[in-house]
C-alpha cells in the first residue's frame, strides 16, 4: 500500500515548529553543517507507513522499557535507558518522537545516574519531576514546562521552581519534617503561580485552616485535594470566621482524599464544608503513620461528625471509599463497624438533587443521589443528576470490607435498590473454626439474598470471604463435610427470586480458603480446597420479577467471638 499522508486512516501528530525539539534539530544541523543524510545500508523494501506516523512511533516507544526491577525493587526500579536511546538513533523521526519520552519523568534516582550536564541540557523536556532531595542535582535546573511536581521543603530554591512553572497541573508537597509548617516564601510562590493547578496533595504538613483556605483561593480550577498525614489546625480565629461569614466555597473541587492519619485530625473534615460540589470522598486509613505507630481507627463519634458535614454540605456526593490495607484487616485494626458504615451510607439518599448551595451555612439537609463505601475499588462516576427521577438516576456501585452484613446495613443498601448497579463485598471472618465460619456465612448469604431480590438494576455481584485463623490453631479443616456445609450456605443466595434481570457477572469466592495468620510475625499462609462442582443452576428461573421483599426475613448474623 502506498503511503498517503492525507488519508483519513493516518492520524498525524505534527511537531509544532516552535517546539524545542525542532529548535534543537535546527541548531544541531546548523552547528554541524549541511551534509546530506546517507542512505541506510541493507534496505530490502519500503518502510511500512505505520512507522512513519509520529503518533504510532510514540506509542511503540511508550512500551520500550525505561525501567527495570531486575536487581532492584518494584518500589524503586532501576533506570535502563539504553534501549530507548538506541531507538532514538534509528532515524530522525524516531529521534524527535522518542527523545521526549526519555525525559518525560525524572526523579531523584534518575538524577543520580545521569550526568548533570545532560539534565541541564534536557531540563526543558521534563514534564513530571519527583524531587525530594538535592543530591545528584545541578544547583539550578531550568525546568519550565512541568505539569507535575512532587517536591519538598528540603529542595534549595523550591519556591523559584514553583514560580517558573505556572502551567503546573499537579503539585505534591512534602514537608521537610513531620508536622512542619510550609514556609512563607513557598506559600507565597504557591499563591502567585498555581492558577492552573488541578490537583494538590499535602503530605506530612501542618497548616492553619486559614492558610489552607488562602492557598485554595489561589487555585480556581482545583478539582482534587489530597491529604496524607497532614494536620489542619481549625482554630476559630478572625480569618477563619471571615471565610465562614463570606460564604466562601470552592465549587470546582470534586474529589477529596483524606489519607493516612485522617482519623486523628477532625480539622480535615472542616474542609469538606467548603466543597458544595464534592462528588467523591476517599478515606484511607493506612496502617502506620510517619513515626511508625499504628494509626487510630475512625471513632464512632468522628464518623457521625463526618456524616453530618457530608449531609449538610455536599449534596452532590456520589462515592465514599473507605480503604483498609490487608495488614490492617488481619489485625482487625481499621475495619469499621456496621453502624459506622451505615451512618456513612445514610448520609446519602437516592432522591433528586436540589440546586447546589452556595455557602456552607445555608445548607438544607443534603439530598444526594448515590453512595458507595469501597475497598480498593473504583466505583462509577455518574453524570449530573439534578432534577432526574430516582429510577433514571445514574448507577451506583457499593464495595466494602465488612465484618458482617447486619440488618441495618442491609436495609440501607436496599434503600439504594433503584440505582445500585454493582455490589462487591468482602466479608471478614476471624478465628474461624470451620463450622463457625460457615454458620456466619449463612446469615450473610441470607441478607444478601434479600438485597438481590430488591435491586432490579444490578449488573455485577461479587462476594469474597476472607477467613482468618491462627496459624497454630489447628483450624484447617478441609473435610468434604466442611466444604459441603460452606456450599449449602452459599445456596441460600438463590432461595428468593432475584429482580436483577440484567445481571452480567456473578462471582462468589473464598468459601474454601483460609488465611492462617502468625500474629507475631504478621505473616500468613493461604490454603484452599479443591471445590466440588455442582450442576449449573439455571439463572433464568431465578430472575423472575418478585414482589416487594419481606423485610422480616432480614436476619442479623450472630456475632462471632
Amino acid at each position: 500500500m502506498s503511503y498517503n499522508p492525507s488519508s483519513d486512516s493516518v492520524k498525524k501528530l505534527s511537531v509544532p515548529q516552535s517546539s524545542p525539539d525542532v529548535a534543537f534539530k535546527t541548531k544541531f544541523v546548523a552547528r554541524l553543517g549541511s551534509s546530506s543524510p546517507r542512505p541506510s545500508q541493507g534496505q530490502h523494501g519500503p518502510t511500512h507507513r505505520a512507522l512513519l506516523i509520529p503518533e504510532v512511533v510514540a506509542r511503540i516507544g511508550h512500551f520500550i522499557p525505561l525501567y527495570s526491577t531486575y536487581l532492584s525493587s518494584a518500589a524503586f526500579p532501576r533506570l535502563t535507558p539504553k534501549q530507548l536511546l538506541r531507538c532514538t538513533r534509528v532515524c530522525r523521526l524516531w529521534f524527535h518522537v522518542l527523545t521526549p519520552l526519555l525525559w518525560a519523568v525524572v526523579d531523584d534516582s534518575v538524577a543520580r545516574m545521569i550526568p548533570m550536564q545532560a539534565i541541564q541540557r534536557n531540563a526543558y523536556r521534563i514534564r513530571s519531576l519527583y524531587r525530594l532531595h538535592n543530591f545528584g542535582w545541578p544547583s539550578y535546573v531550568a525546568c519550565t514546562k512541568l505539569t507535575h511536581l512532587t517536591t519538598s521543603s528540603w529542595i534549595v530554591g523550591v519556591d523559584e521552581l514553583i514560580r517558573q512553572n505556572p502551567s503546573l497541573e499537579r503539585l505534591e508537597w512534602c514537608s521537610k519534617a513531620p508536622h512542619t509548617d510550609i514556609s512563607v516564601r513557598v506559600l507565597s510562590a504557591i499563591q502567585q503561580s498555581m492558577g492552573r493547578l488541578r490537583e494538590l496533595k499535602l503530605v506530612e504538613c501542618t497548616l492553619k485552616l486559614k492558610d489552607l483556605l488562602m492557598i485554595l483561593r489561589s487555585m480556581p480550577v482545583l478539582r482534587r485535594l489530597e491529604f496524607e498525614q497532614t494536620t489542619i489546625q481549625s482554630s476559630r480565629d478572625l480569618y477563619t470566621e471571615m471565610f465562614h461569614s463570606a460564604q466562601l466555597n470552592f465549587p470546582n473541587i470534586r474529589h477529596v482524599s483524606l489519607g493516612r492519619g485522617f482519623s486523628e485530625c477532625e480539622g480535615l473534615f472542616e474542609i469538606l464544608a467548603f466543597c458544595p460540589r464534592l462528588e467523591r470522598l476517599d478515606l484511607d486509613s493506612g496502617t502506620t503513620n510517619c513515626d511508625g505507630r499504628l494509626t487510630r481507627k475512625l471513632s464512632a463519634q468522628s464518623t457521625e461528625t463526618l456524616a453530618t458535614i457530608l449531609s449538610r454540605s455536599c449534596p452532590r456526593l456520589r462515592a465514599i471509599e473507605y480503604w483498609t490495607p490487608l495488614e490492617s484487616s488481619i489485625q482487625r485494626i481499621h475495619l469499621l463497624s456496621g453502624d459506622q458504615y451505615t451512618s456513612l451510607v445514610k448520609a446519602i439518599h437516592t432522591t433528586p438533587v436540589s440546586e447546589p448551595r452556595t455557602s456552607p451555612k445555608s445548607m438544607a439537609p443534603s439530598r444526594v443521589n448515590n453512595a458507595c463505601s469501597s475497598m480498593n475499588g473504583i466505583r462509577k462516576s455518574p453524570v449530573e443528576t439534578s432534577g432526574i427521577e430516582p429510577t433514571s438516576a445514574t448507577p451506583v456501585s457499593f464495595k466494602a470490607d465488612l465484618l458482617e452484613l447486619d440488618m441495618s446495613m442491609t436495609v440501607a443498601l436496599m434503600d439504594l435498590c433503584h440505582t445500585l448497579e454493582t455490589i462487591s463485598l468482602r466479608i471478614h471472618v476471624y478465628e474461624c473454626q470451620p463450622w463457625r465460619r460457615h454458620e456466619a456465612s449463612r446469615w450473610n448469604f441470607k441478607n444478601i439474598s434479600c438485597i438481590l431480590s430488591a435491586c432490579q438494576g444490578l449488573q455485577t455481584f461479587e462476594l469474597d470471604f476472607l477467613a482468618f485463623s491462627k496459624a497454630d490453631g489447628g483450624f484447617s479443616d478441609t473435610s468434604t463435610a466442611s466444604v459441603l456445609t460452606a456450599n449449602q450456605g452459599a445456596l441460600m443466595l438463590f432461595e428468593d427470586s432475584w429482580r436483577c434481570q440484567g445481571l452480567k457477572r456473578l462471582s462468589i469466592s473464598g468459601l474454601h480458603r483460609t488465611f492462617h495468620v502468625n500474629y507475631h510475625s504478621n505473616s500468613w499462609e493461604r490454603t484452599e480446597v479443591p471445590q466440588i462442582q455442582y450442576a449449573p443452576i439455571r439463572m433464568k428461573e431465578l430472575l423472575q420479577v418478585a414482589e416487594t421483599p419481606d423485610l422480616s426475613e432480614i436476619q442479623d448474623e450472630p456475632r462471632s467471638g
Binding site: D8, S9, V10, K11, F28, V29, L32, S35, S36, P37, R38, P39, S40, G42, Q43, G45, P46, T47, H48, R49, A50, L51, I53, E55, V56, R59, I60, G61, H62, F63, I64, P65, L66, Y67, L79, T80, P81, K82, Q83, L85, R86, C87, T88, R89, V90, C91, W94, F95, L101, A104, V105, D107, M113, I114, P115, A118, R121, S128, I378, K504
Partner: protein
C-alpha cells in the same frame, strides 16, 4: 442488534453491536446517527485486516472499559501481553502494522497497545542498525549527527 461493516474491498461483515462498539469511532458514529441497518463503510481497512480486528473485538467483548491507569508513569508501566493476545499477534510484519493502523483509525486502544507492545518486544535487545534492518527504515542522519547523539548519550551505554 447487528451492525454491518463494509471493508475497503467491499466485503460486508455483520457483527453484534457490543462487539462493534469496542471501536470508539464506530460507537460514536452509532451514537450520532442512531441505530440503523445501513452498513458502516470503513474505506481504509481491508477485509483481511478487518477479519482480524473483529476476531479481537469478539474475544474481548466483555472486557471492562479501559480506565486511565498509571501507565503514563514509565516507572509503573507494564509490558505484559495476555497469552491469547500473544498468539493473536503471531502474524507477519505487514499484517502486524496493518492491524496497528486499523486500531489507530478505529480507535481501539487496547488493540493498538497490544500491537505496539508486540513491536516493542521485537525491538528489544537490538542495535539501531538491526532495528533499521528489521523494519526497512532509512537512516537519514548524517555521520556527524550520529556521532553527536552517540557522544551525548554514552553515559547510558552500560545501563
Amino acid at each position: 442488534m447487528t451492525i454491518t461493516l463494509t471493508s475497503l474491498d467491499n466485503v460486508e461483515f455483520k457483527v453484534d453491536k457490543d462487539v462493534a462498539e469496542r471501536s470508539i469511532l464506530i460507537k460514536n458514529m452509532i451514537d450520532d446517527i442512531g441505530e440503523t441497518d445501513a452498513p458502516i463503510p470503513l474505506p481504509n481497512v481491508s477485509s483481511a485486516v478487518l477479519t482480524k480486528v473483529i476476531e479481537y473485538c469478539e474475544h474481548h467483548r466483555h472486557d471492562p472499559p479501559q480506565v486511565q491507569d498509571e501507565s503514563d508513569d514509565p516507572r509503573k508501566r507494564s509490558n505484559d501481553i495476555e497469552e491469547w493476545d500473544m498468539k493473536f499477534m503471531q502474524v507477519d510484519q505487514e499484517m502486524l502494522f496493518e492491524i496497528i493502523l486499523a486500531a489507530n483509525y478505529l480507535d481501539i486502544k487496547p488493540l493498538l497497545d497490544v500491537g505496539c507492545k508486540t513491536v516493542a518486544n521485537i525491538i528489544k535487545g537490538k542495535t539501531p542498525e538491526e532495528i533499521r534492518k528489521v523494519f526497512n527504515i532509512v537512516n537519514d542522519f548524517t555521520p556527524e549527527e550520529e556521532a553527536q547523539i552517540k557522544k551525548e548519550n554514552e553515559w547510558a551505554e552500560d545501563r
